[in-house]
Amino acid sequence: MSLKAFHIIFVTVSVLLSFGMAAWGLHRFLTQGKTSDLLFGIVGIVAAVALLVYGRYFLKKLKNISYL
């Protein structure tokens, strides 16, 4: 497996982590009402979306490099 393939796996896991962080923060905000948790949730969503956009860009940019 090349660095390209491993990077795609890494970005996928990072997106899942970011969405998980967002869910955690928003759940805490809804149950406890703290603004810092809301901010944490928003940061998680923004990070996840940014990583998705980056992943798409990365795939397009390195399309000529092998996955092996």
């Binding site: 491993f6 982590l17 962080m21 810092s36 980056y54 092996l68």
Partner: protein, 290 residues
């Protein structure tokens, strides 16, 4: 002596030697960290209610460090892609950012460790417990106490300590809260009890203390596995930073001698770096959030 298949793939494996080598190494690393993750799960499910102290971690700092490592993975891939595109100056810049991220991660982690070494839990003889900080006077200077424990009190013949308690912590039932007004209680509750906001120090007699411990491995099972896993991970970050620094500082010479060989070396270093970052992606939520 020329080592074969440093740039060209071996016909039998389809890979150049270093790539096969790094994946065999990473397989052994998966077993090492897998054993620790398994140990963590077993220790956690076997812990008594209220005994798992994970709510004491600093989530914003952990989040910051997570994004630092994600950024470093992006830049290490960009460095490799730059070499593939024969753009050495872009490679150098990306590698500098990667190494800066690695060092930044370690610096932040060391500050986080230092904060844990001056953060305490005290178990009183009446069965109550609380977390907070201890300050003491050294001449005219007020200092934070680092790495004190119950033995320190008797060894230094300390009769009482000035203890600044944290706000009530939702993860630690059965805590003791010093007497305070309703407004004060509301204030400390609002600030979450992560050690960043305190109310006034209270005096605790050493004779009333059953146990005193900083947040060190001896504090609890949680901190034992936390320090073991994060220190092991930190050593991997340091090792990766050293290897990538070698590719940065010796890169020009390697590039001039054999560009494909340097490109493959950076790919192998990048694979290791991604593995180290991936470990943190799993470590962060289990240690800080869940």
């Amino acid at each position: 002596m020329d080592i074969p298949f440093t740039t060209k793939a071996r016909p039998d494996t389809g890979l150049y030697n270093a790539k096969l080598g790094i994946w065999l190494f990473l397989a052994s690393e998966v077993m090492l960290f897998g054993a620790f993750f398994s140990a963590y799960i077993l220790l956690r499910v076997g812990a008594d209610p209220g005994a798992w102290a994970h709510g004491l971690m600093n989530v914003p700092i952990g989040t910051f460090n997570t994004f630092v490592l994600i950024l470093s993975s992006v830049t290490v891939v960009m460095a490799w892609a730059a070499l593939k595109a024969h753009n050495y100056s872009l490679y150098r810049n990306c590698m500098v950012i990667t190494i800066a991220c690695a060092l930044g991660f370690l610096v932040v982690k060391s500050f986080e460790y230092a904060e844990k070494f001056r953060h305490y839990e005290v178990w009183m003889k009446d069965g109550t417990r609380m977390t907070g900080h201890i300050d003491y006077q050294d001449g005219a200077v007020k200092k934070h106490a680092y790495l004190w424990n119950t033995k320190t009190l008797s060894k230094k013949k300390i009769e009482s300590i000035a203890f600044t308690p944290d706000a009530p912590n939702e993860w630690m039932p059965g805590q003791y809260y010093p007497p305070m007004t309703k407004e004060q209680l509301e204030h400390v509750k609002k600030h979450d009890g992560k050690g960043d906001h305190h109310h006034e120090a209270i005096t605790i007699k050493s004779a009333d203390i059953q146990r005193l411990s900083a947040f060190v491995p001896a504090h609890s099972t949680f901190f034992a596995i936390y320090f073991t896993m994060t220190a092991l991970h930190g050593l991997h970050v340091l090792g990766g930073a050293i290897v990538l620094s070698y590719f940065l500082f010796r890169g020009r010479k390697m590039w001039q001698a054999d560009p494909d060989h340097l490109t493959n070396r950076v790919e192998v270093g990048g694979l290791f770096w991604h593995f180290v970052d991936l470990v943190w992606i799993f470590l962060f939520p289990i240690m800080y959030i869940l």
